[in-house]
């Protein structure tokens, strides 16, 4: 059953590639909005991870009808439907945080924020 080689697992490899690309954007890029885009790429790869195992060759969309007997698995569709809506809610919250950080620090680059924090700490250290 699980003895197949690479061709049978091509869908998983694409998923893993997208997932890792998202992870790379999140780790390597300092811009907060870019990080959030990376996070949503990661998220879509998880959709793919859930949906692809539910597909059956020759199956149709899971809408019952007398003409069809083979349907793809509806359960992952339901779970991912929920995940998409939750995903956009978290994206909106993250963007709100980024906007707020921009107002407080004047930048959304991680390095500049850290530099500003360190500068503030140095000033406080001199005072005390």
């Amino acid at each position: 059953m699980s003895s197949g080689g690479l061709p049978e697992h091509f869908s998983y490899i694409v998923t893993v590639f997208l997932m890792v690309a998202g992870l790379f954007i999140v780790i390597a890029r300092g811009n907060l909005i870019k990080k959030l885009v990376g996070l949503s790429v990661f998220q879509t790869s998880v959709y793919l991870l859930y949906i692809t195992p539910g597909k059956l060759l020759g199956g149709t969309a899971p809408i019952l009808s007398p003409q069809f007997t083979v349907y793809s698995n509806p359960l992952p569709h339901v779970l991912i439907l929920t995940a998409i809506v939750v995903g956009v809610a978290t994206l909106a919250l993250g963007l709100a945080l980024a906007v707020r950080i921009k107002e407080a620090y004047g930048t959304i680059e991680e390095d500049e924020i850290t530099a500003a924090d360190n500068a503030v700490q140095d000033v406080e250290g001199v005072k005390s």
Binding site: E8, K55, P62, A92
Partner: protein, 169 residues
Amino acid sequence: MVLAVLALARTRNLFAVVVLSGAYSFLMATLLVALDAVDVAMTEAAVGAGVSTVLLLGALHLCKSQEAKPVRGPWLPLLLSLATAALLIYGALGLPDFADPNAPIHQHVVPRYLQNEVDVPNVVTAVLASFRGYDTLGETTVVFTAGAGIIALLRRRKPKGEKEAHDGK
């Protein structure tokens, strides 16, 4: 789609990044149609490519739209990502083959879902509203919390913040 993601990682103009991520979402929706997940594809096209892009553009309007040059080299994250990829692919080789009808995912509760117990021909709707209704309750809680958080963060600011909070729902 893979190319779109690679371009995403390379591009430093954030406006281009947002447009590319919208295109990526549409490609993902197309792929989901090919995988028979029509409901998910519709949601992804509307929410992923539509609302997310609007939200990102709104945030870009309030922030600078050019990313700074990275100060550190990309090699450590790249190495980490490749190591993760190798581990994940090694793990994925143990999963059932693509479209294997005997895979455990097709054997557990799904045959019962497909018997049309609640008299709704669209099984996805039936499962969402009937069998797994509590999921939607949890989802609503999350969306409500996110909306409340956004309002708390952006209140007593420009009216733009209010608009974003409403888009979140």
